[in-house]
């Protein structure tokens, strides 16, 4: 009973280690699932009002990227793998912008290039994505997010081939699409997106040759941060923005975010191990302590055993075996219960929605093996200290010991 209570410390240590590690992993899965499909070598550019006067322009000038920039970058910057310009039309917060018969809805309208799906992947649930021919012929087609299909169409209707009136112009629906990532550029739900060809959008809505946004990936082997800096300088030079104006070109670099996330999650894992091992250590010290007490009580017995021929090695073996048995049993229960709890959590989460940032709590096989070896080693250590003490007493003193 007393041993069991002590072994509870070990049980708790392992249990905590498993549960915390699983929870950490779940958080990681939750976040990483949202971004892992995203091209990690991508960077994004938009414009902000200038913050410095330059070449006759005042500060605070509003400016835009142009179609020329697209061609120029494609021709001159070899480090660029994919370049996808983007236009932002009316968004979901600007009131109803989409009409179909009696149904209306407000969605995020963007003009896109096919390359965009190589950076932020979407998969068509029905139909297809936007392609080069759409761009070339400035077709009035659109692909819609799942939520748009829900709002604008009946359940039994097939949206493909149907028409939506978007901001006063009719577009044919050619695809219903599902976002693979949770990375988002305008803060609204991605499933509420309507995407139309970039060139169609420029022309249909009289946007001239304005480009709102660039998404860029670097070729393999080139850090995207390097490309980001290069493109920024280039864009500033082409638009007469002061080279030392840090504000005018807004940019965002997934690589940096990715590294940040990974740092965060390895931090969480390290913390888990520190706390878990700490708790486990407390448990092991408890076991070691109780072994000391047990041995103290059994001093006489050990004395007898040695008088009739038990070698110190045998005595140590016995005690260590007992301690390892105690820790491993306790640890095993902790391990099983911990994994059981994670499985339960997993089942509960499975039925939850997509928006949860907590997915698939699990521990790796390596982690379990690591935990078990930590257990065995700590059991040995917990037994070894009292065992050495037990044999350091001369057999004759042990025999004389009257017990406690």
């Amino acid at each position: 009973m007393r041993s069991l209570m002590t072994a509870f410390g070990v049980f708790w240590g392992i249990f905590m280690l498993i549960v915390m590690s699983g929870a950490g992993r779940a958080l990681e899965n939750g976040v990483m699932d949202g971004i892992k499909a995203f091209a990690t070598n991508s960077a994004f550019f938009w414009t902000e009002p200038t913050s410095k006067p330059y070449k006759g322009f005042q500060r605070g000038r509003r400016w835009n990227y142009k179609n020329d920039d697209i061609q120029y970058i494609r021709d001159n910057v070899k480090e660029v793998e994919y370049l996808s310009p983007k236009l932002f039309g009316p968004n979901a917060n600007s009131g109803d912008n989409t009409i179909r018969g009696k149904k209306t809805g407000s969605f995020n309208i963007t003009g896109d290039y096919p390359d965009f799906y190589k950076i932020d992947p979407w998969t068509p649930v029905k139909g297809r994505l936007i392609n080069e021919i759409d761009i070339l012929h400035k077709r009035k087609v659109c692909i819609i997010g799942e939520r748009v299909a829900e709002v604008m169409f009946e359940k039994n209707e097939n949206p493909i081939g149907e028409y939506l009136q978007i901001n006063g112009v009719y577009f044919q629906v050619v695809g219903v699409v599902h976002p693979e990532t949770r990375m988002n550029f305008n803060g609204n739900r991605k499933t509420e997106s309507i995407m139309i060809p970039f060139s169609t959008m420029q022309q249909t809505y009289n946007m001239g040759d304005v480009v709102h946004f660039f998404a860029v990936t670097s070729v393999p082997g080139v850090p995207v941060s390097q490309l980001e800096a290069k493109l920024k300088d280039l864009l500033k030079a082409r638009h007469k923005v002061a080279p030392d104006d840090v504000q005018a070109v807004g940019s965002f670099n997934i690589e940096v975010e990715w590294v940040k996330y990974q740092g965060l999650f390895s931090g969480i894992q390290i913390l888990t191990w520190i706390v878990g091992i700490g708790t486990l250590l407390a448990g092991v010290i408890g076991v070691s302590n109780i072994m000391l007490v047990i041995i103290k009580e059994r001093t006489q017995e050990i004395g007898i055993q040695r008088a009739i021929g038990a070698t110190p090695g045998k005595v140590i073996m016995h005690i260590v075996a007992e301690s390892v048995f105690l820790t491993v049993i306790a640890g095993y229960i902790g391990l099983s219960l911990g994994i059981g709890l994670l499985e339960l959590a997993n089942m509960a989460l499975d039925s939850g929605s997509d928006e949860v940032f907590f997915r698939r709590p699990e521990i790796s096989f390596n982690m379990a093996v690591g935990a078990v070896s930590v257990l065995v080693v700590s059991g040995i250590i917990a037994g070894l200290i009292p065992a050495r003490r037990a044999v350091s007493i001369k057999p004759i003193d042990a025999l004389r010991d009257e017990g406690i």
Binding site: I304, A310, I396
Partner: protein, 241 residues
């Protein structure tokens, strides 16, 4: 068999050291039945412990079976004890959670004998002690005499050359004491050297040789033939006292 020359032993008691054995010279031959007597504090238990390699000594030499016993590692000592020596204690020192058979079989376990074999041998020895039907009983279910017989069986199972008994009858009433002594005498007749420590004269009188210790020295060795004289002398001492 046993040869001691000029054995000294002292215990450190805080700052003082207590000189317990002050030069013991002793020869014990194979097959002897020896008792060591002496008042308490005379060093008889210490002597027995040294003989049994349970304790070490400071000075002198101790040859056991022709082999010098000095500064032995615990492992060597344990091996020697296991092969050559058997022990019987005043308080029986049986292991309380093991039954009689397992207690008897224990020394064989340390020799690496398989469980089946050692239990079979243990039953044979229990049978010799007349305890066969008690084989599956725990020590606390047995009387003192029975427990001591189990302990004797245990000391014999490894077929030792010498059995040491520290006050084997100390915790027993006189009738059982005589029973136990009879058993010990039988063992001795099989050729095993027996050395017992006792402070009871009538127990000592059953042995062939009495070594009297006083104040860390051997004061008297009484051989078998002189026992009768010694007995009467002892009676006179009692009357005076």
């Amino acid at each position: 068999m046993i040869s001691l020359s000029n054995i000294h032993k002292s215990y450190a008691m805080g700052n003082n050291s207590l000189h317990v054995l002050k030069g013991i010279n002793l020869q014990i031959e194979q097959g002897e039945f020896v008792s060591i007597m002496g008042s308490s504090g005379s060093g008889k238990s210490t002597l027995l412990n040294i003989l049994g390699i349970l304790d070490n000594y400071d000075e002198g030499t101790y040859h056991l079976n022709g082999k010098l016993v000095k500064n032995m590692s615990e492992k060597q000592a344990a091996k020697l004890r296991n092969e050559l020596l058997g022990f019987v204690f005043q308080s029986f020192n049986l292991i309380s959670f093991k039954n009689a058979m397992e207690n008897v079989a224990l020394p064989l376990y340390y020799q690496g004998v398989s469980r089946k074999k050692r239990n079979k041998i243990a039953l044979e020895y229990l049978d010799k002690m007349g305890l066969l039907q008690w084989a599956n009983h725990l020590p606390n279910e047995m009387s003192g005499g029975q427990k001591q017989r189990v302990a004797i069986a245990r000391s014999m199972i490894s077929k030792p050359k010498i059995i040491f008994a520290d006050e084997p009858t100390g915790a027993l009433d006189s009738a059982t004491s005589f029973e136990v002594m009879d058993i010990l005498r039988e063992i001795n007749q099989d050729g095993i050297t027996l050395i017992i420590v006792t402070h009871e004269h009538d127990i000592a009188a059953m042995t062939q040789k009495i070594i009297r210790l006083s104040d860390g020295r051997i004061s008297e060795i009484i051989q078998n033939g002189e026992l009768k004289n010694w007995k009467s002398q002892y009676r006179r001492e009692l009357e005076i006292a």
